[in-house]
């Protein structure tokens, strides 16, 4: 079987191509892999699973539930604002609701869902069997779930945070937000930041070390590039919120003075730290969406994306610029003039890489042959909406302009065009593209078109008038307004538009549940898409690919001659084994055993989670929780050698 140890570049001069793998061998390998990678059934199996697909599916489902909750909060706000001096909800609840809406959408929906899609697809797309650290991955999900449950549990007990998703001090500090509301927010951040950082470490390590042989840097799918760049952004942006939320928590709980001006603290320190995280956060949501757009455009035009290197450089430069413009959230604070101009320039410069990508996609479409599926429609919608958001973005990068529209509904309109248009529309496009892979069944195109048109129309009715409201002087985060302000009619229109979005979301859910049972069977590759996730069955088996593919081009399936896939042989089938390859050229380096399923991540999340929650009330939570967590970690890392292991790898036998 040993054909070549070097990087396999199939080349026609080479004598004797290796024979096809026979059906008997394939079914034998399939049986062995299925047995080895079988997930435990039942509730306990569910708790212990470390398979990246099971965990990512949970992530996606949980994130969609939070998306719906966040949407309900949005609908309540729209109901309250639909007419002046409305008495539907008062200031206390309204402030909780808009804080919950922002926190939910940013921390519990957008970032997790983008990472979740990555955690599902990246291993399939790069041809490996699991993420690099499967147990850690499970821990990430449980922490994320813990954060969400903490936030919503508190909210339903009327202890929802009410200082905004940005929690500006001193409003969020001990003097002006007594009670536990803001503590809940700060600890929710702790949970979700741990989860996001774990996801980022997984994605980077997996992409760096586990790509299929031959998938050199210039053959990585754009979606995977987007995930890689995003993961790096998470790694460098999230520590800022780790540090600042810790400072906020200690200011509130043990009387430190980071943000207390009377003792030398500084309210602006919070803003700098928060936006050093908060602005990259937008690109953390947006860049994975760009990857999804590339996948969808490529699939539904049946054309390779034009300008692949330019696309990658654009994403990388967006990521770099994303760290250089946090101050544009702070133009109304005292800042030196020169600094402001720098941040204006950096903010408008984002339009260049965004432009490059948009033009490359348009060129790809121009040269291709589009199929107007729902997925592709959502991408067309993305162009219509995101460009509006991008253009208003250039406008508000200007300091004098921003000073007029900052913290008004103009900004609300702007970032909903950017985030809904630029991230949620691609996400829907991706959902329609990959649902068949996840479930083995197609979504209904008819319902899909309804889903799209209602969303597209509703989105514009809801958010376009907000531009005008902002210019008419309506500030953000107000629970009511006076009739004489003249904002009533446009607010009513905006609230009316929200009904379309709600209807669209409902149709989407119906489509998802209905198609789960009655959708047409998808087959391996229903769209004739080019990337490796389509080279395995739908849904993929727990071990992903029967044999690890060998990649011979940027679009492995399209490039494979006559439906033949070159693959790797010789990996062990009796344990969770994958292949580690080199960073640049993906040359095989070693075999790698993935950790197996275990209850420990769940236990650790429970212990760490209750410790974080107890810390809201007493600092002792940290000490006790730390000791318990160490005990679990010790079990986690303690070596276990199971009977089926090779004895030769064990240098020294322990006591049985």
């Amino acid at each position: 079987m040993a054909y070549s140890q070097s990087l396999p570049m199939r080349d026609d001069d080479r004598p004797d191509p290796p024979p096809l793998i026979s059906a008997e061998v394939e079914s034998d390998v399939r049986a062995k892999l299925s047995a080895t990678w079988k997930e435990k059934s039942g509730f306990y199996g569910w708790l212990t699973s470390t398979n990246h697909k099971s965990i990512a599916k949970r992530y996606v489902v949980t994130a969609i539930i939070f998306f719906i909750l966040g949407g309900i909060e949005a609908a309540m706000m729209r109901a309250q604002l639909s007419r002046p001096e409305n008495r539907f909800i008062g200031p206390d609840l309204y402030n909780q609701i808009f804080t919950m809406h922002g926190s939910t959408m940013m921390f519990l929906f957008a970032v997790p869902v983008m990472e979740a899609v990555g955690l599902y697809l990246v291993p399939l797309m790069i041809g490996t069997r699991n993420v690099a650290f499967p147990r850690l991955n499970a821990l990430g999900y449980w922490m994320y779930l813990g954060g969400g449950l903490l936030l919503y549990g508190a909210f339903f007990l009327n202890t929802g945070p009410d200082a905004g998703w940005f929690a500006y001090v001193p409003l969020s500090g001990p003097a002006y937000s007594p009670g536990k509301r803001v503590d809940i927010w700060a600890q929710m951040i702790t949970f979700t930041e741990i989860a996001a950082l774990i996801g980022a470490v997984e994605i980077v390590t997996t992409i760096f070390k586990q790509r299929a042989p031959g998938m050199s840097l210039n053959r990585i799918p754009l979606f995977v590039w987007g995930q890689l760049i995003t993961a790096f952004m998470i790694i460098f942006a999230l520590p800022a919120i780790v540090v600042s939320s810790t400072m906020l928590a200690t200011d509130r709980l043990i009387d430190t003075h980071f943000f207390n001006p009377a003792e030398g603290g500084d309210a602006l320190l919070w803003q700098h730290l928060f936006w050093f995280f908060g602005h990259p956060e937008v690109y953390i949501i947006f860049i994975p969406a760009l990857g999804m757009v590339s996948s969808v455009v490529e699939t539904f035009t049946q054309r390779r994306i034009f300008g692949y290197p330019a696309m990658i450089l654009s994403m990388v430069s967006t990521a770099f610029l994303g760290f250089g413009l946090w101050v544009h959230h702070m133009f109304a604070t005292p800042l030196p003039q020169l600094g402001q101009s720098f941040f204006t320039a950096a903010s408008s410069a984002i339009s260049i890489p965004s432009g490059v990508q948009i033009f490359c996609w348009i060129a790809t479409i121009w040269s291709g042959r589009p199929r107007f599926t729902t997925s592709f429609m959502f991408v067309i919608g993305f162009f219509f909406l995101f460009i509006i958001g991008g253009l208003t973005g250039v406008m508000i990068a200007s300091v004098p302009y921003d000073l007029q529209v900052h913290d008004t509904f103009f900004i609300v309109a702007h970032f909903h065009y950017v985030l809904l248009g630029g991230a949620v529309f691609p996400l829907f496009a991706g959902f329609y593209l990959w649902y068949p892979k996840l479930t083995g069944r197609m979504l209904s195109e008819k319902l899909g078109k309804w889903n799209f048109w209602l969303f597209f129309i509703g989105m514009n009715i809801t958010f376009f008038p907000m531009h005008i409201l902002g210019l008419m002087g309506m500030p953000r985060r107000v629970y009511t307004y006076l009739p004489e302000m003249g904002w009533g009619p446009l607010n009513a229109l905006s609230s009316f538009g929200a009904l379309f979005i709600a209807a669209s979301a409902l149709i989407f859910l119906i489509n998802v549940f209905k198609s789960l049972r009655t959708g047409a069977p998808a087959g391996d590759n229903p769209w004739n898409a080019p990337t490796l996730e389509w080279a395995t069955s739908s849904p993929p088996p727990s071990y992903n690919h029967l044999f690890i593919p060998v990649v011979e081009g940027r679009d492995p399936i399209w490039d494979a001659p006559a439906g033949e896939l070159s693959v790797v042989t010789g990996l062990r089938t009796d344990r969770h084994e994958g292949l580690v390859t080199s960073i640049m050229d993906a040359i095989p380096e070693r075999r790698y055993e993935f950790k197996k399923e275990t209850i420990l991540p769940f236990l650790l999340a429970v212990v760490a989670g209750s410790w974080i929650a107890v810390a809201i009330f007493t600092p002792w939570g940290v000490t006790i929780g730390g000791i318990l967590a160490f005990i679990i970690l010790a079990c986690w890392f303690w070596p276990t050698i199971s009977p089926e292991h090779d004895t030769e790898v064990a240098l020294k036998k322990g006591k049985p």
Partner: protein, 349 residues
């Protein structure tokens, strides 16, 4: 907007203080609007807005047309049969490359043009045009605005709330601070925002070129009643402004009839005086707004209600139902005391 005008307009008794500010000036197109500039700062930005909007519209139309053209052209093409099924042939590649390069170059040029416009407008609005602007101190409170016209002579210091009188045509320099949380000062017809940050003193300026009454409101989320933290800028001809300022320097008139005398007693004996001050009386509270010239103001509760006797009565008895969470507690008063108090407050012009 007639109703608006009526509601914002004060009782006839206060109109003398407003001088020539007429009903007609109030209404025009929006008294809290970015696009109805009444001073140089807002004018520059409004111009910038229309320029940006025009450019953005043209760019949008061009890009979307290109997208639609690409979609149309691609869908009318015959299915691929050549070896370039999955990627462009060399001819197409050349066209695409040229197209993308032209489009990106145009993006860069437009971006730079926008940047130049932005920076030049930015430096224009950052410069105070007058050598000797009128200086006013503004202090942000949850949820009202304290306004102080400082003066070297202590008796001449004027304190008011939620209403800033300024002379037309003279630049006004605001020195701002906050005693609690972050607020943001914003009167869109005159100028962009500036935050009021505890521990930092901030400065902003504006100039009203037309007499009129301009509404502004807090633009940084500051808690419960962020929505009801408005103020008015009353721009008056210079003489009217000076007359107003002189009048504001006076202490409250001594009550003359028995009703208002009772009212003053009620004010001083009820909890009112713990938080509010009235010049010339024993009330020196500094938690709430200074009420020395309450009746000369247009609104109460930071622009929440027009100042009418009925509104004032409702506010005194139960502020929490009008502005939930406000720091002012409800006050229990029997009807006679209330009447007297209202009559007394009505004399504080």
């Amino acid at each position: 907007m007639t109703a608006t005008r009526d509601r914002v307009q004060l009782k006839a008794s206060t109109q003398s203080a407003l001088g020539v500010v007429s009903v007609a000036l109030l209404g025009c197109s929006g008294f809290q609007s970015v696009l109805d500039p009444k001073g140089p700062r807002a004018e520059d930005v409004a111009r910038l807005h229309w320029t940006f909007t025009a450019i953005a519209t043209v760019v949008y139309v061009i890009v979307i047309s290109a997208l639609l053209y690409a979609l149309w052209r691609a869908s009318t093409r015959k299915p691929f049969i050549d070896e370039h099924q999955y990627h462009e042939n060399p001819d197409q590649a050349a066209v695409m490359k040229r197209g993308v390069i032209i489009a990106v170059s145009a993006t860069v040029i437009i971006m730079l043009a926008a940047l130049v416009m932005s920076v030049s407008t930015g430096s224009a609005v950052a410069t105070v045009p007058d050598a000797k602007p009128l200086r006013i101190d503004v202090v942000g409170h949850q949820w009202w605005w304290e306004v102080v016209y400082d003066d070297p002579i202590p008796q001449n210091v004027v304190k008011t709330a939620n209403e800033i009188h300024v002379p037309v045509g003279r630049a006004v320099l605001l020195k701002m601070r906050s005693t609690d949380v972050i607020h943001s000062f914003w009167a869109p017809n005159l100028a962009g925002k500036k935050d009021l940050i505890p521990g930092h003193e901030t400065v902003t300026w504006f100039r009203a070129d037309t007499a009129g009454i301009y509404r502004g409101q807090c633009a940084e989320f500051c808690g419960y009643q962020h929505a009801k933290m408005a103020f008015y800028i009353v721009a008056q001809p210079r003489l009217d402004f000076e007359r107003w300022l002189t009048q504001q320097r006076e202490t409250a008139p001594k009550p003359t009839d028995s009703l208002t005398q009772t009212g003053e007693r009620v004010f001083l004996s009820a909890p009112c005086a713990m938080c509010h001050s009235i010049g010339g009386t024993g009330a020196f509270g500094n938690i709430g707004p200074d009420l020395t010239h309450l009746a000369s103001r247009r609104t109460i509760a930071a622009g929440t209600l027009p100042l009418t006797t009925g509104n004032l009565a409702g506010w005194i008895l139960d502020p929490q139902s009008i502005k939930p969470g406000v720091k002012m507690p409800p006050t229990q008063l029997d009807p006679q005391s209330l009447q007297a108090l209202l009559a007394y407050l009505g004399t504080l012009k």
